[in-house]
Structures are given as C-alpha cells and as structure tokens.
Subunit: 109 residues, 2 copies
C-alpha cells in the first residue's frame, strides 16, 4: 500500500488540457483511478470509448451527457455510468466539476 | 447495457441505515458500483475491510478517515482510496456526503 490513500484537494495540481478543461489525477492503483475534471462553460469532452468501466459524479455545474444512444442534462449531485467500450461524451452547459472513476486504471492519463 | 446509465439524484431513494447514516446506490454493473452515503455529525462508519477496491470523494462535510495506519481529516473536495482488503473507517465531524465507488460491485448492498 502506498501513502497516496488520503488526498487533500489543495495538495494536487491541475493539468491544463486546453478547450476550457483541466484535470487532477487524485489517486490510483492498478485496479482503479479517481480523477477530478473541471470544465468551463462550453468545454467539450468529445465522444469516445475505452475498455475501462467508468462511474462519474457531477460535483457541480451542469452538463449534457451522452452515453450510447441516451442523452440527459445532469447537474450537481447526479451520476452517470459508462459500461466498458460504450461511446460517451460531455458538453458543459454551466461551469463545474466531474469526478471520474475508472476501473482498471487509465494508463493514458 | 441497461438504461441506468444517466441517474438524477432526485429519482433515487435513500435507504436509512441507522446511526445517522443513509445511502443511495446510484448505479452499478458487475464491474463497478457508485453509492452516495449521507452522514449526520457523529455518524460512524466502523472500521472494516473488503476485497473490493474503493475510491471515495468527499462531496461535503468533514470526516476523520482512517485507512490502515494512516488517519486524516478530509473535507469537501478531498479524496480517499482504499486498496483491496485494507481496513478503513470514517467518523463524521460535520454532516456531509461521501461518494463511494467500488470495483467490483458490492453484492452485500
């Protein structure tokens, strides 16, 4: 077990991704990864898929989320869930933060 | 893929667990589960372990979190990460909400 099990937000640095999006990888091991993603209004997470299962929590803001052929406007307190290999994307309608959890770990982050 | 991929908070019911704690299972498949847990001040998640890996996001409130031999006070915006089979527990210092993600799914919830 490493010592990265208790993680204060202010101890982690944002990585700017461009397009009004930035992220912090908060914690991970090979089985799981938890990531904070901040969007400015109009920021777009383009439609994509990956073999990882993903559970996401809308911490704040408002987002139009598309998963497969379903689309919904979600706000702070809501959740979305992406099974393995299903196309999904996000459009930020009001600036806010998503908490994305992946299993297994994303090796591309 | 089931239709439980886009989940509004207000559509899900709390399950009262007693001791000032209630939870909502927000979404899951066999690989992953995302659960919202609300604590009143003084609520205690007794120390326990499970083979599932767990990533948790502190949505709000203040909690004393213990993982293995480490202990820290965490607040809204912070994260904790529990590797498989590591003892962990929580004491709620100010009422709030945790978002717990498990992989694989908890079959006991």
């Amino acid at each position: 077990m490493n010592d990265k099990t208790l993680v204060r937000d202010e101890d982690m640095e944002w990585l700017e991704l461009g397009g009004g999006i930035k992220r912090k990888v908060m914690a991970h091991d090979e089985k799981m990864m938890i990531v904070k993603v901040a969007f400015e209004k109009g920021g777009i997470g383009a439609s994509h898929s990956h073999p990882h299962t993903q559970a996401s929590y809308v911490d704040s803001g408002k987002f139009e989320i598309t998963i497969g052929d379903r689309r919904m406007e979600l706000k702070g307190g809501d959740v979305y869930f992406v099974p393995s290999d299903v196309l999904h994307g996000a459009v930020c309608l009001e600036s806010g933060v998503l908490i994305d959890v992946f299993s297994p770990r994303r090796e591309d982050f």
